[in-house]
Symmetry: C2
Subunit: 132 residues, 2 copies
């Protein structure tokens, strides 16, 4: 029960893209170097973000990745769900007659966490970085 490294890569990459926020795409190599990942692996992660509609890829020379339109409303939860999937963290597959009380508690806890991740946007971090 831990977040995967892929999520970490995705979050850091997105932070860079939001910070750059320019029209020009940033190449995978550049993004990968600053995180010590192999470019091929990072690109595999980024395709998931593309499918989620938050970034887009530009192929060919001078290609790379850049934010798609909605740029400023991207939350942590968006990215995490794109990478980890939006399945529930806890799933009780037993068949006790009524609803599982344990599952209810776990679901509440999960929602507490998700609420925080949903209300924190990447842009906020960029501003903090700029001040420092």
């Amino acid at each position: 029960m831990r977040f995967t490294k892929a999520t970490n890569y995705a979050l850091h990459t997105m932070l860079m893209l939001v910070a750059a926020s320019s029209v020009k795409p940033i190449g995978v190599q550049q993004l990968a170097e600053s995180q010590n990942v192999s470019p091929t692996y990072l690109s595999k992660i980024l395709t998931r973000l593309v499918k989620a509609g938050m970034i887009e890829s530009v192929s060919g020379a001078n290609g790379g990745y850049r934010l798609s339109r909605k740029k400023d409303d991207i939350t942590f939860l968006d990215i995490i769900h794109a990478i980890e999937g939006n399945a529930s963290l806890f799933e009780c597959d037993f068949v006790h007659g009524d609803e599982c009380l344990i599952q209810a508690v776990m679901k509440d806890a999960e929602e507490k966490m998700e609420r925080h991740l949903k209300q924190t946007k990447l842009v906020d971090l960029v501003k903090q970085q700029a001040q420092a």
Copy 2:
């Protein structure tokens, strides 16, 4: 990033033990049957709870598991930590100069969840079950 089945087993088993709450221990077989797990596997999980000090095992005939003394203050978080470990869910191992802003956000989110799990006790569920 999901909770393991072992955690599910542990939570359900603890709920039974708290509900029983008697002096007599309950055998692993009985506990396992009601959850469709093999007794050997369940016992492996329960030893972790023993090491965490929340239950104790009684060996020999008519043996089994029962709560240790502190019985009524056991929280969800206690059990989860005993099974999954108390490591942080998110760990950024990069070396960016200052503290990782992303990690800070994730840690906050995690704490939101843990707070809920810490303030929910198993005894509360037992009472709910009794009412129904």
